[in-house]
Every structure is written in C-alpha cells, then in structure tokens.
Amino acid sequence: DVKVTQSSRYLVKRTGEKVFLECVQDMDHENMFWYRQDPGLGLRLIYFSYDVKMKEKGDIPEGYSVSREKKERFSLILESASTNQTSMYLCASSLLRRVDGYTFGSGTRLTVV
C-alpha cells in the first residue's frame, strides 16, 4: 500500500558533500514536491514539479536543485551540504489540477556534520 517512498529515513553527511535525496511515487501523480521541516517553522516548500523535466522554485530553493527525469521519481540535490541544511525533508505528490490533497513520504532526517 506504500505510495510515496523516500529512499532513506536517516542520513548523515559531511559538510561540502553532494547529497541526493530520492523520492518515488507509484500513483501516476503529475505533481511532486519537496519540503523541509524545522521546529517552529512548519513546512517550507523547496521545489516542485508538474511534469517530467520541469521544475519550479518554492519558497526556499537556495542551496538546492532538483531533477525529474521520470514521472515517478523526483530527486532533491544538495550541491554542497552545509550544517544549516540539517533538517527533516518530506516528499509529496498529487494529481495535477486536482485539489485532492497530497500524499507524503515518511521523510528523510538529514544531519550534516
């Protein structure tokens, strides 16, 4: 019954490393989203995508990039990880132009040391 899968639950990386967070959905959703979640700040949108090979910046795209080569997969890339990117990262998906809510993955807790 799993619908949105994030490849890692916990990840520890070193400062300056290039980090890939992977998200796969099996619901044939067009929309995919990446959020980061920090205490007191709620969910902040990093990037989203409505279709393969397209991407839109969210509220806090600095320091991140994304890739969507296939409809079911949306990758978040930290080009050079920094300690202020230590956070919980959540992936979500939804149908295009259907305000039907999102389906979330279980999250990846990233620690940058």
Partner: protein, 114 residues
C-alpha cells in the same frame, strides 16, 4: 494571497478529555480544506478534507472538523483524546483552479497527559 493560521503552537490535554485545534484561513472563495497528522519521525497522513456540502466532516481516528465560512475557520475536534493522538497537526488550504498546490499552517503540537 491565501494563508493558513494555526494560532496554537502547542496544546496539552489529558487523556479522555475533548480536543479542539484551531485553524483559520484567508481566501476569497470557498476553499478546499485539509487536516493532516504527523506522528514523531513520520510523514504527514491525511485525517480529513472538506470540499463542499455538509460543513461537518468526519475523518479517520475519530476526528471531525467543521467548516465555518463566517469565521473563516476549519477547527479539528475529537470528543475523547487517546495517548496515541500525541502528534503534530497541520491544517492546509487548496485553491480551486490551481495546479493543485496546498498552503500549510505551521502546525500545532499536541501532547497528551496520562
């Protein structure tokens, strides 16, 4: 622009007591409204949603929410809280005619006392 406000950052209730979590939204037309729950270390799970029709909607885990247009509110309620309800709760609003994006509130953390 649309926005969602959850006025309470943290609420503590006793097990068995009733619960109401507040959510206010800002949007010109009738919104699509959602409540999500996030258990510690987990992703968000949909509790319930409102699109139209009956303003009192039932969700999973015994939760319900009432849409009040006059107050721009969509408060979440549960008659008797269980210890397993301790979690963070997020209200969200969606915009019809959009790509399907949601705007989230900052969340309310619920603690349950034994």
């Amino acid at each position: 622009a649309q926005s969602v406000t959850q006025p309470d950052i943290h609420i503590t209730v006793s097990e068995g007591a009733s619960l109401e979590l507040r959510c206010n939204y800002s949007y010109g037309a009738t919104p699509y409204l959602f409540w999500y729950v996030q258990s510690p270390g987990q992703g968000l799970q949909l509790l319930l949603k409102y699109f139209s029709g009956d303003t009192l909607v039932q969700g999973i885990k015994g939760f319900e929410a009432e849409f009040k247009r006059s107050q721009s509110s969509f408060n979440l309620r549960k008659p008797s809280v269980h210890w397993s309800d301790a979690a963070e709760y997020f209200c969200a609003v969606g915009v019809s005619g959009s790509q399907g994006n949601l705007i989230f509130g900052k969340g309310t953390k619920l603690s349950v006392k034994p």
